[in-house]
Amino acid sequence: MSEPDSWRRLHPLSPIVRGGRATIGAATLLLLSLVQGSRGSSDSFVELAIVGIVVVLGFVSWLVTRWRIEDDDLRIESGVLRRQSLRFPLSQTQAIDIVRSGLARIFGVAELRLRTGGSSGATARLDYVAAHEAEPLRARLLALAAGAREHEGAPQPETVVEERVLTTVPTGRLIGSILISDVGILAEAVLAALIVTAVLSPAAAAGVIGVGAAWIFTVLTLVWRRFNQEYRLSLAEAPDGLRLRSGLIALSAETIRPGRVQAVRMVEPLFWRALGWCRLEVDLAGKQRSKGEGQAERRPLRTVLPVGSRALAEELLERIVPDRPPVQSPPPRRALWKSPLRYRMLAWGRSETCVATTSGRIRRVTVWAPLEKVQSLRRVQGPLQRRLRLATVHVDTAGRSVHAAIRDRDTAEADRALVELSDLARTERRKKRR
């Protein structure tokens, strides 16, 4: 960082990494044609020409892309025909994440991703910079974002934000938990069925594999994706929020600002409950669907704790949603007619700032929604509920996957809850506006 204000280019290997799978495909093709090079020279000439053109295009795109820090803005310019100049105000930055895909790790580069607040959630991407530069650059950008003006010749390496690791998930426990989770058991059942059929009659097994290949593949992908994403997941507390790092092949690091959390849920599948394990997921606001964001970033749900004890979950929850109410009041007995499977799980509670509900048929799902995030409240009563004098109150938040519903309460209680919650939510909104 000797000359802070000059234009800089990205890492020269960026186009290759950005190409991702296409690069791998092209490399394989090239290798194949080289191996079989002796036959038809015109064929391999065409292939070489195509590869050459792609390489030149990649080089040009690298050549015209440059970035620099101007005062409090990050500027990125790119494009030949359609010149694009992006000015990203650092003061608006909510989080700066470092993401490293598998290919990026092979080539020793990393991507810096800057995110603004709001539901539009614009992102600026520096893909890619050298891996060893990524961390200092992030710290510098964060320091700038925090309003600390940069001093000449003082890049302040000590501003690398201090983090305190709260928890890391041991690999053994992760594997064990996946094996007895719902997806895992499904995968095991499929595999067991396959093995049994293969032993009984190999021909039938081949047929089954042929027919159900897509399904088998889907289930295995689910299991694999979960393992890959949650491998060595660690959660750390940083001044700007919770830092989440994880990944086996693709590494990702992300910062969850406390204000972005719309709702939190704790999931306890059937077999996990015997071991006292649970899973914590956080629902974030936003419709970030900008091009090029990975699958993991598009999901609004973030796993904060893939598997852990209740005590650990409580400790983490304390940091995400303080002042959690106890969830204890069960619904009236007649709710058994309406939700026989759910009845044992149903309960709710509220404090001045937060509402909590539990539900679920086989697994238990506990949801906490901060009242300052409540978008609207709905009281719904179906025909059966009307006969039983029950009603459900839904608490809508901007999160898309976690939904808090106070199910099957006595009508009078539901009405009271509706009034109380809308009053409390109003107070919270006012507090925030001031």
Binding site: K373, S376, R378, R379, V380, T397, A398, R426, R433
Partner: protein, 154 residues
Amino acid sequence: MNESWRRPSLRLLVLRRLEVAALALAALIAAGVVAALGNTVVGLACLGGVFVLGLGAERFVSRRFHAWGYAEREDDLLVRRGVMFLRLSVVPYGRMQFIDLTAGPLERSFGLATVRMHTAAAASDARIPGLDREEAARLRDRLAELGEAQAAGL
């Protein structure tokens, strides 16, 4: 909650009844053709069936119409609807992201419009159909004004 509930325009009920009547008329004509040309007994049974169904639909439509209601409170809008499934939504003005005012061709010919309030939550459900055009415009402007005054963001 003691607040003054307002209802959609009575013309919405007229519109809904006309829709039912048009459908029933088409079915009646079909049944009449069957009665005249083919099997008389079956045709007459169809006529009777259509008549009963039509009456049932009319009752359904009018009950649905009477279930609609909305109330503007100091800080939030209440919307209630539904006969089988009773729904009551509480949408704070401060959470409003934008307001839709739509009017389909049928609604337009009756001088009606539908107002819909959107929040950041997809599940929020604040739609009021069949408002007088002036009332719809008034409600839209008032909601926009209140929404701006109390905006709370995400």
